[in-house]
Amino acid sequence: MIYSIVQTAIILSTALFIFSLHWMKDPKTARRGVFAGIAAMTVAIISTMIDPAIINWDYISIAIVLGFVVGIPLSKVPLTAVPQRTALSHAFGGLAAGLVGTAKYYLWLSEGVEQLTTFRMVAIIVEIILGFLTFTGSLMAAGKLQEVKWIPQRPVIYKGQNFINLGLLGIAIVGGLLLVVSPAEYSYLFPGIIVLALLFGVLLIIPIGGADMPTVISLLNAYAGLAAVAMGFVLDNKLLVTAGALDGSSGLILSLIMCRAMNRSFTNVLFGGFGQVKAAAADAEQRTAKTETAEGAAEILEQASKVVIIPGYGMAVAQAQYRIRELYDLLTKAGVEVVFAIHPVAGRMPGHMNVLLAEAKIPYEQLIEMDDINSDMPQVDVVIVVGANDVVNPAARHDKTSPIYGMPIIDADKAKMCFAIKRSMNPGFAGIENELYFAEHTFMLFGDAKAVIGDLVKQLSGSGGGH
């Protein structure tokens, strides 16, 4: 009886999970997806709890209550902190997988070594290696994103790094193989493998810089999903395998999109150490950029008929979203068409800019993907670059010596005029000068993004009242 109830629940949850992701195809139906997900989860949890063999209700209730106590505040973080929160939840997912694998190993070991079949052993080893490396790797990523003091922000690169990392992983895998061959005899190796996986997670993330975070977070997402799949194999549970596969494929697709948007490969992100690329490229040629005042810029904006705003991580740092919203309102009211051009890797995780702009109540129809806007660029009167840098650097199109050569960019330089808001002329994360700032029709607006846009808004609303 219970068997068929559980199986029916699994079918129902699986279908609901698939619908949940299916409804994410459109912002209009997306919230339905969340409710389908919650329903699926509830069905799955209840169908597990009706098992009469479950007796330790005190442990279960404490863990669930604690989950709510920690989970609710985690869901209230400011949207600029969403990348950290996401990394942290990958860490929790990895931890859960790792611990379940560990518990299952010792349980079966105590019940009798014949329980540890080769299949189960392989699944357990895969689960704990993936789980624990995701755990520490994601914690490191979250720490870097949160700018925790004792975690280096800059990529840390040393000689033989890849050799050491892969060596550690290799040792863990060899240990795992020994355990598969003889689960009881080598049981002392099990904690060692856990330690190696934890260490590998840390070392994997140390060489990665902020701008690579979108890719790394997506990759860790895929690992967390695969760890859940491995858990499904260990526990012989189809629902876990399905949900893990859905999560894993989502992480995989997002990583691919991110890699393509940076014109890099997985191995290059993980083993390349992008951050340290020749800072020596600072060439002797000192070019000067033209500047413009807020008054002048406001006047030009008023005359424009189409304005494109290109946001980057700098916008989030300066918390300029709400000022941008005011600018958007004023210009729209004056009959100017304003859209936002979103580069896939702008921000610290996939889709980060969209969420920040949506929070500032920009209608989502105005948020345009890079590929869809580039062909319109020559018709655009004014482009405003807010806190973006490498994603608008024309060097990516033609300069073969540039480290970002080949990376798809938003063609800000093709618009009739460009305003770039920037604190100073310091180059971006890759240490590359941005040609865009020296282009003939580019004018710099120096200062904090929030303050500069505030000035523009003041000018525009002032002159608007004068009419």
């Binding site: 994410m24 997306a30 919230r31 969340v34 604690l66 929790f92 969209n354 109540k361 993907e369």
Partner: protein, 125 residues
């Protein structure tokens, strides 16, 4: 649109039933091929569904799939609740706490973000 929906539903049913039947004969030894079968189909469905997700929603997508993969809660409940040695219950309990945190915060923050995505029309009304 409806075709796609039907396709997903049918695949989901085949996916779960196919292996459920295979397994019901022998509960003692898990049907490993059934599990691989499920994994294969689920991955294809996952790739199909996720590529259609709106690019606007990639951040909420990640928090949603995160909550979904916290289905590990099912395994954690079994390890915590059964009459196993204490240390197994405790390991399970920590895993249960971690998964529950992901479920609660994952679904809540996804909904919070999705509420913010307003179209022009809804704003006017």
């Amino acid at each position: 649109m409806t075709f796609k929906k039907i396709f997903y539903t049918i695949s989901a049913v085949i996916l779960t039933y196919g292996s459920a039947f295979a397994e019901s004969k022998e509960v003692a030894t898990p049907d490993y091929f059934g599990l691989f079968f499920v994994f294969m189909l689920a991955s294809f469905i996952g790739l199909g569904v996720i590529t259609r997700v709106s690019r606007l929603l990639h951040t909420p997508l990640m928090s949603l799939t995160n909550a979904i993969s916290a289905i590990a809660v099912v395994g954690s409940i079994i390890l915590t609740g059964h009459d196993y040695p204490d240390y197994i219950n405790i390991l399970g309990g920590i895993a249960l706490f971690a998964s529950m945190t992901n479920i609660v915060s994952g679904f809540m923050i996804t909904d919070r973000m999705l509420k913010m995505f307003k179209s022009k029309e809804t704003k006017k009304s």
